[in-house]
Symmetry: C2
Amino acid sequence: MKAFTSLFVGLALFTKNILALWPIPHSYSYGTSNLEVASHGIHIENCGVSTDILSKALIRYSDLIFSEKFVNPVDYNAGKLETDGTISALKVNVLTACTDLDVDTDEFYTLNITSTGEASITSNTSFGAIRGLETFSQLISYNYGRKIIKNVPISISDKPSFTYRGLMIDTARNYYSVDSIKRTMDGMVYSKLNVLHWHIVDSQSWPIESLFDPQLYIKGSYAPEMVYTRQNVLDVISYGKERGIRVIPEFDMPGHTYIIGLSNPKIMSCLNTQPMWTDHAAEPPSGQFNIAKPEAIEYAQNIVKEYSALFPDNVFHVGGDEVNRKCWEDDPYVKDFISKNSSLSVDSLLTGFYSNIYDTISHVKKTPMCWQETLLHTNFTVPKDTIIQVWIEPEDVPTVVNKGYRVITSPYMYSYLDCGHGSWLSNDPAGNSWCDPFKTWKKIYSYNPLVNITDPEKQKLVLGGEVNLWSEQADETNVDKLLWPRAAAASELYWSGPYMSGNTTLRNLTEVSARINEHRFRLLARGIDASPTQPLWCVRNPGMCDLPPSKPLA
Amino acid sequence: MKAFTSLFVGLALFTKNILALWPIPHSYSYGTSNLEVASHGIHIENCGVSTDILSKALIRYSDLIFSEKFVNPVDYNAGKLETDGTISALKVNVLTACTDLDVDTDEFYTLNITSTGEASITSNTSFGAIRGLETFSQLISYNYGRKIIKNVPISISDKPSFTYRGLMIDTARNYYSVDSIKRTMDGMVYSKLNVLHWHIVDSQSWPIESLFDPQLYIKGSYAPEMVYTRQNVLDVISYGKERGIRVIPEFDMPGHTYIIGLSNPKIMSCLNTQPMWTDHAAEPPSGQFNIAKPEAIEYAQNIVKEYSALFPDNVFHVGGDEVNRKCWEDDPYVKDFISKNSSLSVDSLLTGFYSNIYDTISHVKKTPMCWQETLLHTNFTVPKDTIIQVWIEPEDVPTVVNKGYRVITSPYMYSYLDCGHGSWLSNDPAGNSWCDPFKTWKKIYSYNPLVNITDPEKQKLVLGGEVNLWSEQADETNVDKLLWPRAAAASELYWSGPYMSGNTTLRNLTEVSARINEHRFRLLARGIDASPTQPLWCVRNPGMCDLPPSKPLA
């Protein structure tokens, strides 16, 4: 038995994909024997605390293992493998009944498979067990009429580097069916991502039911069949919870709110300025809450109240990005209001707006989350418990933690999955966009969320990060291809970290490439249309489609 | 009745998508009445010459019109439209029985619909009728429980600007199922593209059956189920022919042929040079025919003989791109051969290779087609009937026509649909590729195939052009999203031309955008997963997502 307790495994070994797991566990060892999986599959036995979430997960993975016939593309001509025994059962020991899902959720697990086929997963929570079950399922491959687990005995001890590993979808620029959102969560659990950041609404549409103002979605959704009912939302939340995925809703304000003007024009400013929408918004149509009107503030508070009650997660994202001052400076009502109150300004009105909103969030006992501008580009004193999402520059992360705030990292140059497809403005012949180029999985993978943060206490403020799919040029037609496998690059980045043991040596991209390729094909086999990253010839021949040493391509 | 006989229609009119056809016909007029399509659909009556191809097309379009329930996204809230009569029949008059499919095929048609519902298509060939049927089908939209044709009377007279309007797929870097190739041809006929340039084989795989050397595909295909049998090929060809789509096969040589070395290593040079594959190829794995060996030349001739017999099209594409001299300069056999024959050189051997290949093409009575390098970067005297495909710079088009050769245009910066997704080399962290950025539909649309060619006789040498999807990062998983609607931008470019009547004013991109958006949604409704180009809000509100006048975005 060869044993590796550190993460360093040479290329020659890894190109055989001995443990082709995604994301790679923190610590593992393995041997040289092979086990045959019993023809009836794996009986997964619950030997610890039982929870409803765990019970469902055991059934789900038992079914998946039984039905899946996956061959790693590298093993296409491996021949029939000899086996040294059989495996028919897996014991799962969960130590606590806790099923709270938040940034403190314990996802640690150990997974052991002996050479005689005794297998067990131990974890502190049901969610840790789910991570272990996913790892277990990835150890199984199909070989000439039976399933096998190679390279036993296997011993894995695993936990995430970051407890927030997110993926953002935007269902406002274009609509996504509930099925496509669930399929996206399938990809997340297969990749050990654990937060769905749901950017539900934006200027273009309001696709979610509202109780306090039904006109909001009746006028604001793209179509009656393009509305998430409250029941749909609860269904998505429960689907996520069963997989250890939090659903954090975002209701972006005071900008990005044109759509509210369809039902409530009187509380809005700069509604659909044309053709110079650039004066008032980052993209058409322009429109922001009229922050000089108490009715607008009250309306925004009603949004917080209604949806913070609907979404059980303890974090509520209130947006706050790309607020446009000129929208208000040009608004006759705002101008008049300020001229009559010399102590006021657009900035003081904005601070007042935020004070009311954040007070409401506090009142409903939620933790606020916002885009970085609220902290870095307004005079508002952001409550200390707020989670700040950095989307602009990587350098903004240390800036925020140095102010003592917790951070979610998603700098566009490493995280925006929509970028690189050029301008979507109808008549823009140049065709480029501000966030070009396309972010390859390697680019995403190369990000270090802790860059320029050396103080371990400050590092703890970086809760994790996410990748973001803005939907100006995306909908459920192409969502799988845009998300996968690139979102999985982020999942290994935030689960395993980009470094090998000791945090000094970056992982070898040739080895990582072989594994992400396998993961892509596994996602495909599981019904997610992940894009190919290379010719199949390269996938089958790891190391042969590398950049030549010391000679960059022209 | 408003009548427009020129192509100029103001934006205000067009944003209502009065005739939202793709590609836009060369000449048309329309009125203000609406007709209701009979509930049993349209009886399409053949009143002219009958051909098998036409009969099948009549059934196909009759079924499509009956089953399709398409609403233009711009008309989402149009309300129930008043109709002034019904339409239940369409008469098709084809004047000749000719079903030859080549660069001279006549695709002209006229389409007339009177205000009383008399409809007719007249064309010289069955293929012209197919183009007219497609246009007719696009005139129909669904409105509150019935189908209607708006804005009758309609009179259309239409023909392509270029008779070669192609789309290239690459089934070697990654494999495509026959179904996905047929679906691609569906998109082509819906868009009036008429040539499938099938880049079948390349260094990575040989996915096509061979009679003269079965080892070629047994060893060279990715898997037994990833082989196009001769029957599959005939099926694809016949599927295309029924839709007026030529299938031009490409067997690229002498470069891009590593895969032949798996079965025939002795006739090859520089097989899979590693890790410095850059010395011998544009991408891994390297490998070229050993042009110093008569057996290699004979083998290449056998390829031409076998596949020119299988593919009925009169054009046979022999590749010839990215030939690497150093591959041969470093080959011991070639070096030795040249050292013993002082009159020889790598260039003279290459000329000899091409002479033999082109003689064979001539012998089998085919028209050769090749990439531009054979003409512009070798000493070989390319036969005058050869069609040259320009893929590098737009300026190479006038260079080629000035030498008196016919041209197919596909300069990568306007035509390569795979570009913009970064480097696919496993360990390339920079992540960019030589052909970045992504080519938006507007970029593709902005190309002028006749740029810098003023002589009308020289202009005639430009037969048309194509868009190309190289498949290093594409397979049938993402092919629809990469092809559509961008390939349709090329279809209007080569069918209608980028200019309005008079060839002086470029079409208004806002108007074009509204139509290509409709076309995207129609493709989607017809089973092709075309990508969204904009938020649905922009699609529904033409002109409101434009670049502001005279103020480029930062």
